[in-house]
């Protein structure tokens, strides 16, 4: 292990420098990671507003929520959960590979993560198409008939906004994964310097974490 580390020292991350205002590489690394965690805090609070809206309307229009949530496909949701959990594993393994200066392993793991994110969006596309076809759209666009309760449209408004913003995070995540994939392929990362891989990894795990709550609340409990 020690020799691998020395080897990485010599040929890994040729452009990496410790900025002059940092004590050491460790301090620089920790500062960056703290910044990512603060960003994740803002993300939690951002999605928190939407979760709050979900709970308010669920409380007010409980019957509508129960009736409307039966129109979501549990199997599709569960499949997407598995895609995201697996992508979280491959992302964690990509970070681990970068930490050990395994260039091709990093690139491969990031590529698999990218593909799984794509699979998630494909499933989401089929779900959305189905809902648009059935007229289960938010607000004034809601045109579905035959609901026994009054406010099924509110559920679909919340469903589309929450999954839509989450989906946007997945798209942004795919862009970020592609960016570090190219950089990893170029040989930018090593055990000395892999901060961008870890930062994107933390963001990606948060996207997974939010889906972990969205899936049961929207698809399972309603």
């Amino acid at each position: 292990m020690m020799s691998a580390s020395t080897e990485a020292h010599e040929k890994g991350s040729p452009d990496f420098v410790v900025a002059h205002h940092f004590d050491s590489a460790d301090t620089q690394f920790d500062a960056g990671r703290l910044g990512i965690w603060l960003f994740l805090v803002t993300e939690v609070l951002f999605f928190g507003g939407l979760f709050c809206a979900f709970f308010i309307y669920r409380n007010w229009y409980f019957d509508s929520f129960v009736e409307a949530h039966h129109h979501l496909d549990k199997q599709m949701g569960a499949l997407n959960t598995v895609f995201l959990i697996t992508s979280s594993l491959t992302m964690a393994l990509a970070v681990r590979a970068a930490q050990r200066t395994k260039r091709s392993e990093t690139v491969n793991m990031l590529f698999v993560t990218f593909l799984l994110a794509g699979c998630f969006l494909v499933v989401k596309y089929f779900e959305y198409t189905h809902k648009i076809h059935d007229g289960l759209l938010p607000g004034a666009m809601f045109s579905a008939q035959g609901f026994a309760t009054q406010h099924a449209g509110v559920f679909f408004a919340i469903y589309f906004v929450m999954t839509g913003i989450h989906g946007l995070h997945v798209v942004i995540g795919m862009g970020l994964i592609l960016w570090i994939l190219i950089r990893a392929h170029r040989g930018d990362f090593s055990s000395r310097y892999y901060a961008p891989v870890e930062g994107v990894g933390l963001y990606w795990h948060l996207v997974d974490l939010i889906w972990i709550y969205l899936f049961p609340l929207l698809y399972l409990v309603g």
Binding site: S5, G48, I56, I85, A92, R100, Y193, I212, P216, V221
Partner: protein, 154 residues
């Protein structure tokens, strides 16, 4: 975490180079297995009707367990600085305050309109007996009470 890691001593040593804390592969694989098993359990539980509040509580407990596992091992909070855990936990605490207090309000709106109608608040004499209230007050209180009810559920 009890594992042999040759880098453990190098971590945070303030040497010239950053030495990563590499989590052993089995920990990642066990984390993944836990997440898959919990997903199967939460989907399975949704087919059993235990009463809506029990189902909701169960789903949230399982989701929170999954979230903790992801944060601890995939996001490295278990081996990272405790400060990062505190930062992340603070967002959950404030989210809890935000949601809980909003629910106190929205779930109780209009609930006291009936009482207010019977015993209108006297700003000048809040402890006055209900019978001593002027006869015009109930009629005046009825209109805002109705407006509040309508406003609660747009």
């Amino acid at each position: 975490m009890a594992h042999a890691d040759p880098h453990d001593h190098g971590h945070h040593s303030h040497g010239p180079d950053h030495v990563p804390h590499v989590t052993p592969l089995p920990i990642y694989l066990k984390t993944f297995a836990t997440l898959v098993v919990l997903t199967v359990i939460t989907v399975g539980a949704s087919y059993i009707n235990l009463g809506t509040s029990v189902n909701l509580a169960l789903a949230l407990i399982i989701a929170t367990t999954k979230a903790c596992v992801v944060a601890a091992f995939f996001m490295h909070l278990a081996s990272d600085h405790k400060f990062h855990t505190a930062v992340f936990a603070s967002s959950i605490v404030f989210l809890g305050i935000f949601v809980a207090f909003t629910m106190f309000d929205t779930s109780a709106r209009g609930q006291f309109d009936a009482q207010k109608k019977n015993r209108p608040a006297q700003m000048t004499d809040p402890f006055a007996k209900a019978t001593a209230a002027p006869s015009a007050a109930p009629a005046a209180a009825a209109a805002p009470a109705g407006a509040t009810k309508a406003g609660a559920k747009p």
